[in-house]
Symmetry: C2
Subunit: 308 residues, 2 copies
Amino acid sequence: MDYRTLFSYSTSMESDFLTWLTHKLQLQTMTQSGIGDDCATMQFDSNCTPLITTDALVDLVHFDLRVHTLEQIGWKSLAVNLSDLAAMGAKPKYAVISLVVPDTFQLHELQRLYEGILDLASQTDTLIIGGDFNTHSGPLTISATAIGQTVSSQTKYRFTSQPGDRICITGPLGKSILGHHLNFMPCLVEGAILASSKQVHALTDVTDGLVIDLHSILPGDLGAVLYANSIPCREPSGDAASDLKHALYDGEDFELLFTVESATDIRDLTIAFPRAIYEIGLVDKSNQISLQRGNQDREILSVTGYEH
Amino acid sequence: MDYRTLFSYSTSMESDFLTWLTHKLQLQTMTQSGIGDDCATMQFDSNCTPLITTDALVDLVHFDLRVHTLEQIGWKSLAVNLSDLAAMGAKPKYAVISLVVPDTFQLHELQRLYEGILDLASQTDTLIIGGDFNTHSGPLTISATAIGQTVSSQTKYRFTSQPGDRICITGPLGKSILGHHLNFMPCLVEGAILASSKQVHALTDVTDGLVIDLHSILPGDLGAVLYANSIPCREPSGDAASDLKHALYDGEDFELLFTVESATDIRDLTIAFPRAIYEIGLVDKSNQISLQRGNQDREILSVTGYEH
């Protein structure tokens, strides 16, 4: 923990950064937990299950320092983790952040990166309680770990969809690379609502692409059909076939993908959702994922065909 | 979480690695928690405080791939985090591991890295319950987050030493760079014993160097004197002055540094320790850290003079 590094301690930039950060985090949290000791302490409600998730972002893999702002990159580094909590129907409590920054980084750049992290943290009641800081000659790498707890005694898993379930998504898909992946708000409100309903059988977030992530919530012997005309496409170009391909395979949408039992009143279930809801398919026993375009024959979709 | 990456999913190496890892982790944990869903679930004992710590290791900063084995590097990546838990008197429960590996890495290299992690995990009852995996063109970066809980209702903090406290260390210091930093066993047993004693006022592990870490356990108005002849030096060269300098400033010793109230029977307190115990100084009200060499005048030590 420590926010101190054996091989680079006592550089003035690091010292200035930690002074600034400690002040910011104290303002943010007003608790005793947090940086300055070897570990940070945590508390969970007794009837809730604690959950953890971690994701690392690397320059030129998940973002591009030449194009994206540091605030956006900081925001995204926490957002991708909170999306994983939303995908279990959990709410965030804490996060720890490991930064490995290029040794050319300046104090104001570190501050801007952290402003993006803290902006999302404060909007989602996530306390930043620790981290690690290093400099090196390689690319900016941000590894965030988020810890949350279920909103009730229920946890939503992936591999629990059932034949006949209707498949829903919380927003448009595809072309996230144009900007959405940098400024999305994790679906925490929607995840908490879905988690409290027994009619919701399976839940995940779309990170690798709709087809692959749908595959991940189908038990081994189940399949699904997707309705081509019902899938919402982000930034439609007018070329419907191209838009649909992006929606099926692009990934980094961070919308919630879930299945509900067939008799569910979806409108009633999602009435408190801040965002739209789209019913896009049906779980079946076909052992494959296919696409239904209007009245045409179904087209079997490749699960392994994903490439970026 | 996921162990899947948007921009590099479905490479055969990653797929083979995840198949291998899932099998290894199932063998290790035999629990339902763990990889394969968006988050991993955790459980804590009701009378214990959950704790978290994170540290990232980077090639050519914390290890050198050209010299050190992958098993050593994997071991160290978890060990530095477990040492932080030991420094709070906590025992480990879980860890998550984010790997960012060079895109030239082979499957057998990933496996060897993980064998080092799992070797220490199994020796310390730490369950690896998730992680993240990415490839890039930069250096190997391992970010580990460890979660533990206090062994009792007590948590040991840093800034709680008191005037008159005796200062102790669990092992020799200095020259860790010669090998100790790669294969040390975190002082979990010692930490748990110390945590259960009210006579122990402050506790940390030596990561940045004895002088700096001692400074970190002294409240603002306190100081300390160190007894030069009592400080145990690792791999002594015969040049006592040089050995002592290494012991004072090198860092990455991962021994526990603690203070006990003056009337403590240290032998009795540490009778169950697997390793030796050394009394090396005294907390005082001097507001500085000084070194006592035999009968000579005290020499004031620079806290900021650390360089590697």
